[in-house]
């Protein structure tokens, strides 16, 4: 094979590497075509749909479809109306979801990984499997189990009752958690400063509502199901940290907590970035849980709203516009997070870290 190619090459004339570029393109052609057919063209088509009034009948490129400019984007962002309010609600719900899910799932999965990584732990295999189990189970099945657990008379409330607390009717409770907290301090209704202004069609008071009680259940669910996967990533990274580093820290007299925050965690930075990024993307796209529960204002998310707007109301343009705005959100937040987690030069580090680094290197020399 290679000999025929080698002998064929000079016939076309030119240098000895003349035909290589062409062969190279030929080799990557399948991948390029697949990427084009399944990624580039659908994205371009979706972008066109978001600028058009396509109603879902026949191809989006048929002649009856009109270009409407940024109308679809305007309808959900700047024009007063239901579409804007629903989008605002969806963003609000999902924002609280991300704010709670991403840090908590990262912290929990790191904690679990550290625990199951300890050599002294008996039955490590069992715990690793047990923690990973929710991740391999279908999220739809887990939602249904949670639906039963979080019934008004469900197991969770029974347990709460045993401790004398009266649990809410979880999935049917649309009150914002923070609103409940404000209410406990006597702030039941919106102060006029918060009730009047607002963004995306909902007032500041509504923005400050926090996740609804129903959303809280989904937040718990997400943390429960995804922390196993991320635990695995952290575990792999932890096992890459050589034991000599641990020993060096031990020799320097670092206590376990100090060792964790000054040595283990900085060495996990690349994994941390991966986990945070995957978590951020996944939690902005939360859909299946909402779909199984049938939607509703208190658990609406942009991904579900996009689906509902497209398939049930035939406003495919608006649905695609929501998807693109979501896409931009995710990109911006990922870049922001990348910037926050960037490798800093030692000079810019905090005093404690600098001291730790100095101790470490001096310890190493000594």
């Amino acid at each position: 094979m290679s000999t025929t190619r080698a002998s064929a090459r000079p016939r076309r004339g030119g240098g000895i590497r003349r035909g290589e570029a062409r062969a190279g393109y030929l080799f990557i052609a399948p991948a390029v075509i697949i990427a084009a057919v399944f990624l580039l063209i659908p994205i371009a088509l979706a972008f066109w749909v978001s600028l058009s009034d396509w109603n879902g009948f026949q191809s989006p490129l048929n002649p009856r479809v009109n270009f409407v400019g940024a109308d679809n984007y305007a309808a959900i962002t700047t024009e007063d109306g239901l579409a804007q309010r629903n989008f605002g609600r969806a963003v609000r719900n999902n924002l609280y979801y991300v704010l709670l899910v991403v840090p908590l799932q990262t912290a929990l999965s790191l904690f679990l990984a550290v625990q199951v990584n300890r050599a002294v732990l008996k039955g490590r295999g069992f715990f690793r499997t047990a923690f990973y189990f929710p991740s391999v189970t279908s999220s739809v099945a887990i939602v249904i189990v949670f639906q039963f657990l979080f019934l008004g008379t469900g197991a969770v409330n029974q347990v709460l009752r045993a401790f004398g607390a009266q649990g809410p009717n979880w999935l049917n409770d649309s009150r914002g958690v923070l609103h409940i907290v404000y209410g406990a301090f006597g702030a039941d209704t919106a102060p006029s400063a918060l009730a009047d202004g607002g963004a995306l069609g909902i007032s500041w008071w509504e923005w400050l509502a926090g996740p609804s009680v129903a959303m809280t259940v989904l937040i718990i669910l997400a943390i429960f199901t995804t922390s196993g996967t991320f635990m695995l990533l952290f575990l792999a990274a932890l096992q890459n940290i050589g034991s000599e580093i641990d020993e060096a820290a031990l020799m320097d007299g670092a206590k376990p907590l100090r060792k964790f925050f000054s040595i283990t965690l900085p060495m996990l930075r690349p994994t941390l970035f991966t986990v945070l990024t995957l978590g951020l993307i996944g939690s902005w796209q939360v859909f299946d849980q909402i779909y199984v529960l049938g939607g509703g204002a208190s658990i609406l998310t942009p991904a579900y709203l996009s689906y509902e707007t497209s398939f049930n109301e035939f406003r495919w343009g608006q649905g695609a516009a929501i998807a693109f705005i979501l896409f931009v959100f995710i990109i911006v937040l990922t870049l922001l997070q990348r910037w926050i987690l960037r490798e800093r030069s030692p000079k810019k580090r905090g005093f404690a870290q600098r001291a730790a680094a100095r101790n470490l290197s001096e310890g190493g020399i000594r």
Binding site: A21, L26, V37, I41, L82, N86, N172, A297, F311, F314
Partner: protein, 417 residues
């Protein structure tokens, strides 16, 4: 140089392939998702998408399709949808819709106004046999589009055991709002509330209509009228008395479940309650009566499904034959026996009422039933209203209706726009 030519060629090829796949090919060939009918051959076979309430419904259509094939020679493939609306959306977007499909009342106007539907129903041989209320429900801009398959109306279900325990007799069956409030109060005790129903427009709206209100009058939305407010105020009175509690607060998924569990002595549901009780709560004894009349007279909602046909269908004639076949009184009664729906033709509905006297109240309701608001785009306004109804106990009716008025009017404007 050469390299960029190769790239250009590759990309152009990929683009051409994809665009060709996207372009309308003019030949609707069967349904989507493995249905595999060959509609292109011109009507020898039909692919029909249904949404089945259970094995009985799908089974009936399989048998009916076999009888139809025997009679006409047209092959019929019945496809049961998991998610009807989503599968229809995919079918239409891919220019590959089924030859005939279930179309629920709440989607009909959206489909018709978007130009998805073939207005075939007026040309059916038995077009004059359908109940007038249903013909109106499935007409868009005065054209009868879509043959009604069957319908349901709302009635009042009474748990007879609780009824007798409360010392009530047949003479006490409520016919007015005051009667309803009285019996609901006397049925309420301890773990049981007098009345329950879904906290949604499709139930609450009936009371607004009974008060003489309506949501849309021609091109104007009339949601914020005093009549509509009176309907909500009546319900608020029942809530304040403790005799109306909504299913989520009774630990039930819907009214029927609250009724079956004995947590509500009366509910407002349709004929589907029979099947639900038979399946889940076979011991529950109950009767269905017509809804009591409000100050504006009697009113109920009719919910119907029709046989939708995609526009410019190749299989128009054989699909129409199938619709005529399944809407004959004989077939409709077989369907009613199999899964308990009320026939959509006058003759069928009459024989149904005599054959199933326990459901006579639902058939009687069709005389004054109206269709819930379902114009294109109304769904979002209605679901917003449903969300706001969570506060029905405390909110002022005029505030609830004012926001419905705004949302519905802007939806109507863009629908008629």
């Amino acid at each position: 140089m050469k390299a960029s030519q190769w790239t250009a060629l590759g990309l152009t090829g990929a683009l051409a392939v994809t665009l060709a796949a996207c372009a309308p090919n003019g030949e609707g060939n069967g349904g989507d998702g493995g249905t595999g009918g060959n509609g292109a051959s011109g009507g020898d076979s039909l692919s029909i998408l249904i949404a089945s309430s259970g094995p009985a419904e799908a089974g009936y259509y399989q048998e009916a399709a076999a009888r139809f094939t025997e009679q006409t020679g047209t092959e019929v493939e019945i496809v049961v949808a998991n998610d009807l609306i989503q599968q229809l959306g995919q079918g239409f977007a891919g220019n590959n819709p089924p030859d005939l499909f279930y179309l629920p009342w709440d989607q009909f106007e959206t489909y018709a106004s978007q130009g998805f539907l073939e207005p075939y129903a007026g040309e059916l041989a038995n077009a004059g046999d359908f109940l007038p209320a249903l013909v109106e429900q499935f007409s868009y801009q005065d054209e009868f589009y879509c043959a009604p398959k069957d319908f349901s109306t709302l009635g009042l279900q009474i748990n007879t055991e609780a009824w007798e325990a409360a010392g009530l007799t047949d003479a006490d069956v409520p016919t007015t709002w005051d009667d309803l409030a009285t019996v609901a109060a006397s049925l309420t005790d301890g773990d049981q509330v007098g009345l329950s129903m879904g906290r949604e427009y499709a139930r609450v709206g009936v009371f607004m209509n009974q008060a003489g209100g309506q949501l849309v009058d021609g091109d104007t939305v009339t949601a914020d009228t005093a009549d509509n407010a009176a309907g909500l105020e009546y319900l608020q009175g029942l809530i304040a008395d403790g005799s109306l509690v909504f299913p989520p607060d009774l630990e039930a998924g819907w009214g029927g479940e609250a009724f079956g569990l004995g947590r509500a002595a009366m509910v407002v549901e349709g004929p589907w309650i029979n099947g639900a009780m038979a399946n889940d709560f076979p011991d529950r004894e109950f009767i269905s009566v017509e809804l009591p009349a409000g100050p504006g007279g009697p009113s109920t909602y009719s919910f119907a499904t029709c046989w939708g046909m995609p526009i410019d269908s190749d299989t128009r004639d054989s699909a129409m034959e199938f619709v005529e076949f399944v809407t004959t009184p004989e077939e409709q009664l077989l369907a009613a026996e199999a899964f308990g729906v009320i026939p959509s033709t006058s003759a069928g509905a009459d024989s149904y009422a005599s054959q199933f006297p326990e459901n006579a109240a639902f058939v009687a309701g069709v005389d004054y039933a109206v269709s819930p608001v379902a114009f294109a785009g109304a769904a979002a306004a209605v679901s917003e209203f449903n969300t706001e109804l969570e506060n029905i106990a405390n909110a002022s009716p005029s505030a609830l209706l004012a926001s419905l008025q705004t949302n519905l009017q802007s939806a109507l404007d863009s629908a008629r726009g």
